[in-house]
């Protein structure tokens, strides 16, 4: 009887542990990165405004050059969903409105993590996002998602 009770408790405990266990990589798969000399504090709202092309400078007043990723890529879809809070189509319609009224220049698109990391490492104005595994000492992580 007691043994049965204990094994049931154990079983329930195991289920709870399994349900609450989330692999680390789910919590922070990707990283938003800037140049190491860029010490400005960025929160999610700042990053969102930068990629919505609503602001042209970092909170400390320095010029900002966001880097976009290839349309349809997993990392871009995840970034737009989690950080910007919209989807690729809505973002595209919104950017189209700004672009074809001459308000903005669209961010340049880079194809892979290595290109983003090296561009961010070279240009103090740039801000991009890469897989957390691709982060090097040449860049500074400001946010993970």
């Amino acid at each position: 009887m007691i043994t049965q009770q204990r094994s049931r408790n154990l079983f329930i405990a195991l289920i709870i542990v399994l349900l609450s266990w989330q692999p680390n990589c789910v919590m922070a798969d990707y990283a938003v990165i800037v140049h190491p000399s860029n010490h400005t504090q960025l929160d999610l709202t700042d990053i969102r405004r930068i990629f919505l092309l609503k602001i042209k400078q970092f909170p400390d007043g320095k010029q900002v050059a966001p880097i976009d990723r290839r349309e349809g890529s997993t990392i871009r879809r995840e970034f737009i969903k989690t950080v910007i809070g919209t989807d690729e189509i809505k973002l595209k319609a919104y950017w189209a409105r700004l672009l074809f009224t001459g308000k903005v220049i669209l961010p340049r698109t880079l194809n892979n993590d290595a290109e983003v990391t090296s561009t961010v490492a070279e240009n103090p104005a740039s801000i991009g996002y890469v897989d957390s595994k691709s982060v090097t000492d040449d860049v500074r992580v400001v946010e993970t998602f």
């Binding site: 400078q57 074809f100 308000k103 698109t109």
Partner: protein, 355 residues
């Protein structure tokens, strides 16, 4: 919309000084709409584009709203750039015209001055009216979007900033514009119209929060309209020569999958003419499909041509790939004058792409 970049370096100068100063980045982009439609009754004509007088009739037509636009932006320096947008519209026999041709100088990161030709930012979608991809209709309601002066030649200021969580965008403009178009007339035949807008001055402000946008606009200008009927019918007639004032307000909301779009506008000129127009529209995104419904009303007091028009539009926009949307709409419109009342039904479809 994936801009192609072309980097032109002046090699000799590049050796002498910093490469950036003498390098120009060119960004190319474009948009296109292939549209078609017809009215469901042989007597009726429905004008869908006030600038070209593009209109649907009882035959299935592709010209009225099909168009293509190409844009090039030249980045001269961090603060200075030039934008040229050529648009070829079916309603205009696909002859390309520059809707945008201007130079931008960023005075500060929040304030820029533009000089040249630009689209008049009268209503919420006026500036991006040619870019069907930027809204869910085939065309924003013509009851409100009915001004034939679409562009202005002059200067404007653009200010964009945040105050806490509130975004504020303000535009102020001054300029003039002369435009010619042909208006079909059932009795006299085609009438050539010349509209000359001078001393046009305006201001708009958009306040934006996370899910809500409120926009106000004021525009005033002197307008002279001259109509030239076919040679047999007589000499040019000056139909309008007055000072016109536009006032408008827009309330837009995006709450999750739900979208609300509404605008009100009134125009008054020194004479007796005035008009009041508004629309209210709701849409709901179901994955790639966005069904929508719009109710639009126009009350024109232009003695002796007073009329009221009410249009209900039911439609769906299907974003079948990231770069293209296909749209279907059915509109039922009722027009009343002092002496008669007429109904009209329009079916139309469009594919909008951006590249």
């Amino acid at each position: 919309m994936e801009c192609r970049r072309l980097r032109l370096l002046t090699p000799a100068l590049g050796l002498l000084t910093s490469a950036n100063l003498f390098a120009t980045d060119f960004h190319f982009s474009g948009f296109a709409t292939a549209a078609g439609g017809k009215t469901l009754d042989s007597e009726t004509v429905y004008v869908v584009d006030p600038t070209t007088q593009g209109a649907y009739n009882n035959d299935f037509r592709f010209e009225p709203e099909s168009m293509m636009g190409l844009q090039v932006q030249a980045l001269i320096s961090n603060e200075l750039r030039a934008t040229l947008q050529l648009v070829a519209k079916g309603g205009d026999d696909f002859s390309a015209k520059a809707d945008w041709a201007f130079i931008t100088y960023d005075i500060t990161p929040k304030l820029s001055v533009n000089a040249g030709r630009y689209r008049l930012p009268t209503f919420y979608y006026s500036e991006s009216l040619d870019v069907g991809y930027s809204y869910y209709w085939i065309r924003p309601p013509v009851e409100v979007y009915r001004i034939f002066t679409a562009t202005l030649d002059g200067v404007n200021l653009y200010y964009s900033s945040f105050f806490g969580s509130m975004e504020i965008i303000t535009q102020a403009w001054f300029g003039s514009n002369e435009t010619d178009f042909v208006s079909p007339h059932p009795i006299t035949g085609d009438v050539a119209i010349n509209a000359d807008t001078t001393r046009n001055l305006g201001l708009n402000t958009t306040l934006g929060w996370d899910w809500l946008k409120l926009r106000l606009v004021y525009n005033v200008g002197d307008i002279t309209v001259t109509a030239t009927p076919p040679p047999a019918s007589g000499a040019p007639i000056q139909v309008v020569d007055s000072n016109i004032t536009f006032l408008g307000a827009a309330l837009m909301s995006d709450l999750g999958a739900f979208k609300w779009r509404s605008e009100y506008t009134q125009s008054d000129n020194e004479g007796d003419d005035s008009s009041r127009s508004w629309y209210a529209s709701a849409a709901y995104s179901l994955g790639a499909l966005t069904p929508h419904f719009t109710h639009a009303v126009e009350k024109a007091r232009e003695p002796p041509f007073d009329f009221n028009r009410t249009t209900n539009t039911l439609g769906v926009a299907w974003y079948f790939t990231r770069s293209a949307v296909i749209k279907f709409e059915y509109a039922k419109s009722k027009r009343d004058t002092a002496i008669e009342s007429s109904d009209l039904e329009l079916v139309s479809t469009a594919v909008d792409i951006v590249f």
